[in-house]
């Protein structure tokens, strides 16, 4: 009928509540099995299998078999970014889920966005890195500066390994709660991994929430402080 890409297909994939729940769960960045995703969506394994087949055919998720398990994860960063932007619009239009319990503030504070840190702390992290000249905005791609290279290396991150992948090192991703950007890309992933490894932060089981320990909180504030202007 009309020219251009077909958004209805992707829209309908996201439009089913069960599939939307699964995609939301996968936004945690963890690869989940079909049964875990079924429980997440509140449906049986048979139905989940059908849904996951459609999501895979549509290019939104990818599957990897390990033994008798099939692990599903989001297909790539682009899918994660689109889901995050959809959440932004949904929040803006007041389409929130019923359950707005005590977990909600924690979710706005720090959460996982597919594979990197989002929420207020994610935004603060990128702000700080921009302000101190660790990254600069060039076109749409974020560029890591020499100072930024030193900073990351000082944290113990192997940048050469990151650069050797085909994945962009730095990307910005729009945050639905803060409506500001945070750091995505290979470096964003590596930094979150770093927080886990050092014990600064941990995942709250079964949610997208990232909890920081007492020392983690202060260490984070020290490394990613912001000069008020």
């Amino acid at each position: 009928m009309k020219e251009g890409p077909d958004i209805a297909l992707i829209g309908s994939l996201i439009g089913d509540p069960a599939r939307a729940n699964m995609l939301g769960a996968l936004m945690s960045g963890k690869a989940l099995t079909a049964t875990e995703l079924a429980a997440e969506a509140g449906i049986t394994a048979q139905t989940a299998s059908s849904h996951l087949g459609k999501l895979e055919a549509g290019g939104l998720v990818q599957k990897s078999k390990q033994g008798r398990h099939r692990y599903f994860s989001l297909a790539d960063d682009d899918v994660g970014a689109v889901l995050e932007s959809l959440m932004g619009l949904a929040a803006l239009k007041g389409h929130t889920r019923v359950r707005t319990g005590p977990k909600d503030p924690a979710l706005r504070r720090a959460r996982v966005c597919y594979n990197h840190l989002a929420g207020e702390m994610g935004v603060q992290m990128l702000d700080s890195m921009k302000q101190r000249g660790f990254v600069v905005e060039d076109e749409d791609q974020l560029e890591l500066t020499v100072k930024g290279h030193q900073f990351a290396t000082g944290l113990g991150i192997n940048l050469d390994a990151l650069r050797s992948t085909r994945r962009p090192l730095c990307k910005s991703c729009l945050d639905w709660s803060a409506r500001r950007s945070h750091l995505a890309g290979a470096l964003g992933t590596a930094l979150l991994e770093h927080f886990y490894k050092t014990g600064w932060a941990d995942r709250l089981e079964g949610t997208r929430i990232v909890t920081f320990s007492k020392t983690g909180e202060t260490e984070f504030a020290r490394h990613f402080k912001i000069a008020e202007g």
Copy 2:
């Protein structure tokens, strides 16, 4: 079930082919009547009315009555940006409509994105304005510089009027065909209006394509040249 915003609702709204076609038509930026949108989607007026009611309830479109006509348009820039990003993902995943005729290259060259210029020429325009220091990227918002103010005023754009609205003056919007940003916001709209008024460009009826006249093409190139680096 889960916390956070509900993307399924918006997804299902976009997921119906008839509604997706209507939204695509509204991406042209023009306010269209219910019957025009019905024709666009290939359905009867009754069905279209039902769809438009749902889109309005979901906050994706807005209605304004004028006489016996009801004009529909996208609710705001946020909706347009999300639709554009969805088109980007759809194009990336190869979910293109059947019809990939001679219009397609024209669409990639210059098209309307809701209310501003997109496509290669839209990207070039923003690139040029950045390169010459007319706009600078600050956080996520684009900022118009003093030089940029002079430039726009020189074109005959009344910036004071634009600033008096609640709408952001400059915003960046991700282009699905170029996968680069172009200029959105009040200034983006005003510039496109300017191209129309001066006769540099015109709309190709019934599509999102923007056609530039011979002189328009050269004038555009002169005003928005890029220094190759």
